[in-house]
């Protein structure tokens, strides 16, 4: 097969752009692609053109739009990128994470003023190592999708150059309800800390702002610290994942800045009035695992699902039940303070009952149940996953103004 014609054609294109391209060298490349690798000539031609364009750092011949704008890839703001695009961007490496596989040279998060995106530099790409906190111009990278999240791929054709200056980059937090899969930043309050469900987990819980709440998790990693409950933080470049159909924030790799000012949090003001129609087993006095950060409820045999037998448990009070207003039944969970206030039985009293009564902990359950079941109460707290976590709970009193209102209602409509 004769490659000289194709080689000359390619060479002419580059000469036109003012670059000297050796037709012999081009022919050699084409020959190699076609004969050794079985590439079709047209495809070989295209790849040689691409390669040379990159070599001479000129826009791809013919690919440049009429407006003469950029190269084959468009310069884009991160927020505007969609999977499938070739892009050029300028951004700051705001986080680096350990490569998940040997095929990955470097991975992390790159941000500009419009947003942030995860990037992966393939080991084969031989890309220069980027430093956290520095600005780079990345040309001809590919945006694709990994696990439903847009991802920037740096391959052998991507050109990376460091931008010397440190530009100002002030990320803007978004409202929790506007978070979506990818990378996100919020300003939120730690409204809850949950029992760790995995031994590799450092902390999990709930972050809230005015618009909603989202689960967060921090995995154990050197240098990672727990967030303070009720602390307010600005969190940037956190990974927004989906788990069981719900979004959650992975804070490993995120930039976390404690804030001074308190912020209002939604969902904290749910209030329901109704009758307590059920007190579930597991209410009353319970034993909790004493292992730091565990706090799980123990079985009767003092067995923790993770830390096994724990004879030095700690006592706690809780009530799990259903509050029914006649049209809807709300699952409620009362923690110790609320239980003490509603039942009039303190933790110390409950412990005394449990330890000195033949029925033990069951006696506490019975006494508490008899004190609250079937009563009208008003519970206030935070609603999460259709369960009301009660901060305050009080028994409803007979209200004679309500009586009058109903007498009028009954009389008026008759």
């Amino acid at each position: 097969m004769d490659f000289s014609e194709a080689a000359a054609r390619i060479s002419r294109k580059f000469v036109k752009d003012g670059t000297a391209a050796d037709p012999v060298k081009i022919e050699g490349k084409l020959k190699r692609l076609v004969q050794e690798f079985g590439v079709q000539l047209s495809e070989a031609e295209r790849s040689v053109i691409t390669e040379l364009s990159r070599e001479y750092n000129i826009p791809l011949p013919g690919a440049a739009p009429a407006g003469g704008k950029g190269g084959g890839t468009e310069e884009k703001k991160i927020a505007a990128m969609t999977p499938g695009e070739w892009v050029t961007l300028e951004g700051k490496v705001v986080a680096l994470s350990a490569p998940a596989s040997a095929a990955i040279g470097q991975s992390g998060i790159i941000a500009d003023e419009s947003g942030a995106i995860r990037f992966v530099a393939w080991a084969k790409a031989n890309a220069p190592v980027m430093n956290e906190g520095s600005w780079y111009r990345i040309e001809s990278a590919v945006v694709d999708e990994y696990k439903g999240v847009a991802n920037l791929k740096i391959h052998s054709g991507t050109k990376i150059s460091e931008i010397g200056e440190d530009r100002a980059l002030i990320p803007t937090p978004v409202a929790i309800k506007d978070l979506h899969l990818g990378i996100g930043g919020i300003r939120a309050k730690v409204v809850q800390e949950w029992d760790a469900s995995h031994e590799r987990m450092l902390q999990s819980g709930l972050l809230g702002d005015e618009t909603g709440s989202i689960k967060f998790v921090i995995w154990k990693e050197p240098g990672r610290e727990k967030l303070a409950v009720n602390g307010v933080y600005s969190i940037f470049y956190a990974q927004v994942d989906e788990f069981n159909g719900r979004l959650s924030l992975n804070l490993n790799g995120a930039t976390i800045l404690p804030e001074e000012a308190d912020i209002p949090v939604s969902g904290g003001d749910a209030a329901y009035t109704g009758a307590l129609v059920h007190i579930a087993p597991g209410s009353g006095i319970i034993k909790r695992c004493p292992v730091e950060g565990c706090n799980r409820a123990l079985s009767r045999q003092n067995y923790c699902p993770v830390h096994e037998i724990q004879p030095k448990f700690v006592y706690d009070l809780r009530i799990k039940g259903w509050l029914d207003d006649g049209t809807k039944t709300h699952s409620i969970l009362l923690q110790r303070e609320a239980v003490e206030a509603l039942t009039g039985i303190s933790l110390a009293k409950a412990q005394e009952i449990a330890e000195n009564n033949p029925l033990g902990m069951d006696e506490v359950f019975i006494q508490m149940r008899d004190a609250v079941l079937g009563r009208y109460v008003t519970c206030k707290g935070r609603e999460i996953d259709n369960r009301l976590l009660v901060n305050s709970c009080e028994q409803k009193k007979f209200d004679s103004s309500e009586h009058v209102r109903l007498l009028n209602k009954a009389g008026g409509a008759a």
Partner: protein, 199 residues
């Protein structure tokens, strides 16, 4: 970011507990229609109230005036709970051991709060009776009873209003099943119940 903004997926409550309806004894007594919602063996059974609402579970507060133990092998308790409009017939058997123990301990008379499931029975003489299978029963104070009367009166009035509007499916079924029932009766009942409470 580049992924299109999507609605925040929220897991709906996988389980919705049937709410406990508030109904006076005088209305519950008039129930004649019972149905299953769904083909499944485990589908809940509902009793249709004449005011046009289905109930699988009810919450009632009244005075336990009488309780009797019955049966030898399959022991169970029966009781009568009185409200301003009539009497609820309650029962707790060996399938409700906790409720049975609770009921066994209560000395009559006492104000009690009952959560239970209503169902229709045909007596040997052909008469239909509504009985409430107790899930839980606790003694309460008079305040709770009075709050319940207000609560139940309001719910009853709201049901009557909804039945008049006739917008719900249950309201339409109630018209078919209880053609002779005049909801004005229940309105008067609610009104009388309210009047019985001391100002």
């Amino acid at each position: 970011m580049s992924t299109p903004s999507r609605d925040m997926p929220r897991r709906e409550g996988s389980f919705e507990r049937e709410p406990a309806r508030r109904v006076f004894a005088g209305e519950l007594r008039e129930c004649r229609y019972q149905f299953k919602d769904g083909e499944d063996e485990k589908s809940p059974t509902f009793v249709l109230l004449p005011t046009g609402e289905r109930c699988n579970r009810i919450f009632l507060v009244g005075t336990l005036t009488e309780k009797t133990r019955q049966g030898e092998q399959n022991m169970f308790y029966r009781g009568r709970v009185v409200d301003p409009t009539g009497t609820f017939f309650i029962m707790a058997g060996s399938y409700q051991p906790e409720a049975m123990q609770q009921l066994a301990r209560i000395e009559t008379p006492a104000f009690v709060a009952v959560v239970g499931k209503p169902s229709l029975y045909q007596k040997p003489d052909g008469a239909v009776m509504v009985s409430v299978r107790v899930e839980s029963i606790t003694t309460v104070d008079k305040d709770t009873r009075d709050i319940w009367v207000l609560d139940t009166a309001e719910r009853t009035l709201d049901r009557i209003a909804a039945a008049k509007a006739g917008t719900t499916k249950d309201a339409a079924t109630a018209k078919e099943q209880y053609p002779t029932v005049d909801t004005a009766v229940f309105h008067r009942m609610a009104s009388d119940a309210l009047a019985q409470i001391k100002m």
